[in-house]
């Protein structure tokens, strides 16, 4: 887990973004709506004029670490079941 993703809202945004990548094709729109809602919530909370895309871009480095952690967990699980 990265240092920033200990913030619950950032953690939720990372989870939602990761879910779009990993869910079934027919669930992607629903997952995207969830992510959009969280991004809106983060921006409206502080009255920011930053766009949701810019916020995602600013979070990318942290998201990459979050995703790396998720993958490590998944690979470890796979290793145990082999």
């Amino acid at each position: 887990m990265s240092s920033m993703s200990r913030n619950p809202l950032i953690e939720a945004i990372h989870e939602a973004r990761y879910n779009i990548e990993t869910c079934a094709a027919h669930e992607r729109a629903l997952s995207q709506r969830h992510l959009d809602g969280l991004l809106r919530q983060a921006l409206e909370r502080v009255g920011s004029k930053v766009t949701p895309e810019q916020l995602l871009d600013a979070l990318f480095d942290d998201y990459r670490e979050f995703k790396r952690g998720k993958k490590r967990e998944a690979w470890a699980r796979l290793g145990r079941t082999k």
Partner: protein
């Protein structure tokens, strides 16, 4: 002798360009595109997450993700013209969401936001400072 209708005149071209069932053909292309995205994600996991990517990994990643985005946008235009079979579970919105997701990853990997802007946004929105990489 019956007159040849306009539709019959166009038929060879229609068959060649749109196929027998344009909606179904398009749905098949969409399913194939989603499979390509899945394969890309798998290779991305191995080359970009399981290890530190080399500059060559980054070049190939950029080429593939741009191609997936271009193909997906092309499919989106075709679906706007012909629509998808109403009985299928995957929708245009799922395609759009996947395109948005790929585009965000493209920007993250290959069009990085300047560090000072990134830090400013994170400080303004979450009141956090980014630790050094």
């Amino acid at each position: 002798m019956p007159a040849v209708t306009t539709k019959q005149n166009w038929e060879p071209a229609v068959q060649l360009i749109l196929g027998h069932d344009p909606q179904l053909a398009l749905y098949g292309e969409l399913v194939l595109w989603f499979h390509k995205v899945d394969l890309f994600r798998h290779e991305e996991d191995v080359r970009m997450f399981q290890q530190s990517p080399t500059s060559e990994d980054l070049n190939v990643h950029k080429e593939l993700i741009l191609r997936l985005i271009a193909d997906g946008e092309h499919l989106l235009k075709l679906i706007e013209q012909h629509s998808l079979p109403a009985t299928e579970r995957v929708t245009t919105a799922d395609l759009t969401a996947t395109l948005q997701n790929l585009s965000a990853d493209y920007r993250g990997w290959h069009e990085r936001m300047p560090a000072d802007k990134q830090a400013q946004i994170l400080a303004d929105v979450f009141d956090v400072t980014k630790s050094s990489d």
